[in-house]
Symmetry: C2
Subunit: 205 residues, 2 copies
DNA sequence: TGTACATCAGTGAACGCGCGTTCACTGATGTAC
DNA sequence: TGTACATCAGTGAACGCGCGTTCACTGATGTAC
């Protein structure tokens, strides 16, 4: 009885198993930061998580499936941040949204810094062909959601053009997230402030 | 008699050797696109280049040194594009520079699409900790150069703030380069046009 | 111009190691009656 | 409440393969006289 969709196998049902599963994800994040995507191995993950290799294969098809699950968890958390931010700023109209862009950037960066190795997960998503699709799918989803929100405010802009701009804006936002993650805490504040303004400015047509 | 600085070993002196060297770089680009950073191996590079492993070790310390050299070649080409573009647009002042942003984006994308696997090289640079420094160094260099050019046009902006904006702008530009590389030719045109405008807009303070 | 020699360029074969993965299994947890 | 059984969770040991890397070498190219 194997799921196999997307490389995931059995889902943990008991509490002990759920802990093992989460621990595997966390440990993978740490290792990704320490060793890098090309040096990480199932054996390493096991050793750090305190389990033996077959335990990993119970839940994941291979090491990419672990990274995939880790990435999805991270992107779901970021998506939740976007939703929360939208519901707060939407009453202020498009001006409120744009004025609060630095707030969004800051919160997204918070999610990234909270999870060890999250930047490296996102980088792995780009560098590994097999994992690229889940990043694209996630960006597509965010773009779609933002389009629904922005469209009423830009009646004079064609759908195609607005979608392109939003898609680029999403990409810019992720670039900022990464830039913040690799900067010291001093530089982070000004990147958040100026980066947010830059994205907002780029939505004046 | 070994160089060892940055993992490079002997430099090719004879013509035959120079061809082998360049072929190793080109083949590595292709393989990076096909197999991905985690699956590429020295053996694969050799097989595709029609040489045996020791031939690679003559010029490179390991496989990362090959990717590093490939990345540096690509970034030098892009830097040359930036210089050429600057000398053309600089007479038009800051307005000329900003108006011609889409031209820069397009040319950079041209360099990327001309070299097989160039996007994957840039992605590998992010994902592999050991290679990250050369990407940072390159971005720092471009940022510095653009600062020299922009500074006179923004006398009222503090140095720190202008540097931050340019740094972010550089990152945005690379993000566009990657976005274009993973888009179809139809979408590329509008990303170039709108992306260029977005970056230009983000330099209005 | 020819030859002897130096250096450059690349080969063939081999090595030990760690990787991904699987097998048959034991132990832990939950549940029917 | 106790016991028998089913399912879940993880172990221990082993495997073959391809990896990175090195050795002593042959062949190709350049150069001094």
């Amino acid at each position: 009885v194997v799921d196999e969709s997307n490389g995931r196998r059995l889902a943990p049902v008991q509490e002990r198993a759920r802990q093992t599963y989460e621990r595997l994800l966390d440990v993978t994040g740490v290792l990704l930061a320490d060793a890098g995507i090309e040096n990480i191995s199932v054996n390493m993950i096991c050793a750090r998580a305190g389990v033996t290799p077959p335990a990993v294969y119970r839940y994941f098809k291979d090491k990419y499936a672990v990274i995939e699950a880790l990435a999805e968890r991270h992107m779901l958390r970021q998506f939740a941040v976007v939703e929360g931010w939208l519901s707060e700023t939407l009453p202020g109209g498009v001006d409120g949204i744009m004025a609060n862009m630095p707030v969004l950037i800051e919160r997204l960066a918070g999610v990234t810094s909270a999870q060890a190795g999250a930047v490296w997960v996102m980088r792995a998503l780009r560098a590994v062909p097999r994992l690229g699709v889940i990043r694209l799918e996630s960006h597509r989803r965010v773009t779609q959601r933002l389009y629904e929100v922005y469209a009423p405010f830009y009646p004079e802009v064609t759908q195609e053009r607005l979608l392109t701009r939003i898609r680029i804006g999403v990409e810019f936002t992720y670039a900022l997230d990464e830039l913040i993650a690799e900067s010291g805490p001093g530089a982070a504040a000004s990147i958040i402030a100026d980066g947010g303004q830059m994205i907002a400015a780029s939505f004046r047509f």
